[in-house]
Amino acid sequence: MFAFCTDPDTLPQWQWFACYLTSGTHLAFYWSFVVVMILLALAAPAALVMGLGGALLMRARFAPLRWLGQGYTAIVRGVPDIVFFLFVPIAVGQGIEALLHQVRCPHWDMPIWQGNDFIVCPEARVPPRGSPSWVRDLYGFSLAVLAFAVVFGAFVGNTLHGAMRAVPRAQMETAEAYGMTRGQAMRRVLLPQMWIYALPGLSNIWMILIKATPLLFLLGIQDIVYWARELGGAKTSRYTYPHPDWRVWYFLAVLVFYLAVTWASQIFFERLTRRVGRGLATAESARA
């Protein structure tokens, strides 16, 4: 990184650290913090969409759709979601490959599941064999986002369902009295008003989502935890920057990062609650 970094063995203390902390692997470590933020930025809207879908399904008048919505939220909420994080990426990955296998290799005569092996024809491999490592990383990351969306979508769906029921009945009756159709009343009255009721639950889910991000590690993605372990472990003098076991400092840094994100989110949601609550007849707005 810096010009004076050519021979780290001879550097004085602070310059050694300056070089050490800007080495290539450390830049990858810093990048993994960005990846966490990207994951949050992608998973949160995806979970919101899944959740809204789930909540609308739970309100559907057609019973099988309603059961689908209720089943989705009930199953995901009833099982430890770590199990889901491990399960969804493998299941979806195998599902995609099996589907592509049917489409692309109709003449393949061997079964896909051979005993304990899962084998599809080479054309159906996702990502294709020989693709660069960033493609594989991106594919793994997308599956992870999907797993987060499925799990947190169920939480969000439950919260939104409750929030929709919390909107005063009179509001919907008024909308009907004005001659709005069910869909119009939903879009114009119910959906805009439910947010204030949903906000405490959603902020709670957001906090949990933040704390779920280190689980990326379990999916084999080179995330914060991976790099903290990798960089912190003791390095012998064969390495450019030898040092003893520093993992505890790396994990301390990660811990502080999460505390900072949680703290910032808390302040953000306090402000947002005040803002969304404007113009609504709640105890909070009556006090202002």
């Binding site: 199990v83 399960f87 935890v225 505890v248």
Partner: protein, 284 residues
């Protein structure tokens, strides 16, 4: 030739306790039967239950003290307790496991000499790198922080009338807390505390996923489930089995805590009793 169910039960029922209590080798590859999975994953539940029970029991006491500390008007009590609660609630348990494990590893293996003026005692440190001690400690601190926040909320919600009545009857200090404030606090917090107990139980699956090693391949339910998935490439048996075990455990907790709840509320008419609502949020 595959094992019968009884043979897998005999062979692996206590496998989670270590190599000495069961067949030393885990079943491999095509040799794995459905019963093996049921028995071994069930055997792993021993550690889930152990971690959960001890952490909840010790954490309960610690949480009460922390809640009182945070409720206190004295700054030197309030700020450390609030800080402790924020740190453990604001960061992922997964990272806490890693952090504490890497800290425990650095401790000298022969223990730390603590000089107590009269005598020196040696604090044993080598046990801390073992999941059953080190991870348990992290779980205790973690559940203490979460429960303390619940208890703190309940403390603030104790009806003023109760306190005035206690004062009028001449209750002070410890007896006022033990006879009046504490039972009401517990009664108010119990439904959410039941949920907390459930989440903690589910969080015990993180122990062997994080830094703490499973010695002699003796791990918890999820550890064995992952082993089976690695061996068979089939996630559709082992993971749902873990799910089923946890659903059963969750129901047991709900039943047990429901009994306590009924006792805490026994003086109240049915309509005023605190009711439990299952609100799962597993990740912490």
């Amino acid at each position: 030739m595959s094992r019968t169910c009884w043979e897998s039960f005999e062979g692996y029922a206590l496998r989670a306790l270590g190599r000495d209590y069961a067949e030393p080798l885990l079943p491999r590859g095509l040799d794995i039967t459905f019963c093996d999975q049921v028995v071994l994953i069930g055997s792993g539940m021993i550690w889930n239950i152990y971690h959960a029970v001890v952490a909840i029991a010790v954490g309960f006491v610690l949480a009460t003290l922390l809640a009182l500390g945070k409720y206190s008007r004295k700054g030197w009590l309030h700020y450390p307790c609030s800080g402790f609660i924020f740190v453990f609630r604001g960061s992922p348990l997964f990272i806490q496991f890693f952090f504490f494990y890497s800290a425990f590893v650095l401790l000298p293996r022969e223990g730390i000499e603590i000089n107590l003026l009269v005598t020196t005692i040696t604090a044993e440190t080598r046990w801390l790198t073992i999941a059953q001690v080190g991870a348990l400690l992290v779980l205790i601190l973690n559940t203490a922080a979460y429960s303390a926040e619940l208890f703190y909320g309940a403390l603030r919600a104790v009806p003023r009338g109760d306190l005035e009545a206690a004062d009028a009857h001449g209750f002070t200090g410890v007896s006022r807390f033990r006879r009046i404030v504490w039972p009401t606090m517990l009664r108010l917090a119990w439904p959410s505390y039941t949920n907390e107990a459930i989440f903690l139980t589910h969080a015990t699956t993180l122990v062997f996923l994080s830094a703490f090693p499973a010695r002699q391949q003796s791990g918890d339910a999820l550890y064995y489930a992952r082993y089976f998935v690695d061996q068979t490439f089939n996630p559709f048996v082992a993971y749902p089995l873990v799910g089923l075990y946890f659903v059963a455990l969750t129901l047991a907790i709900i039943g047990l805590f429901g009994l306590v709840n009924a006792r805490l509320n026994r003086h109240l008419p049915r309509a005023q009793r605190m009711r439990f609502r299952f609100r799962p949020q597993y990740i912490r």
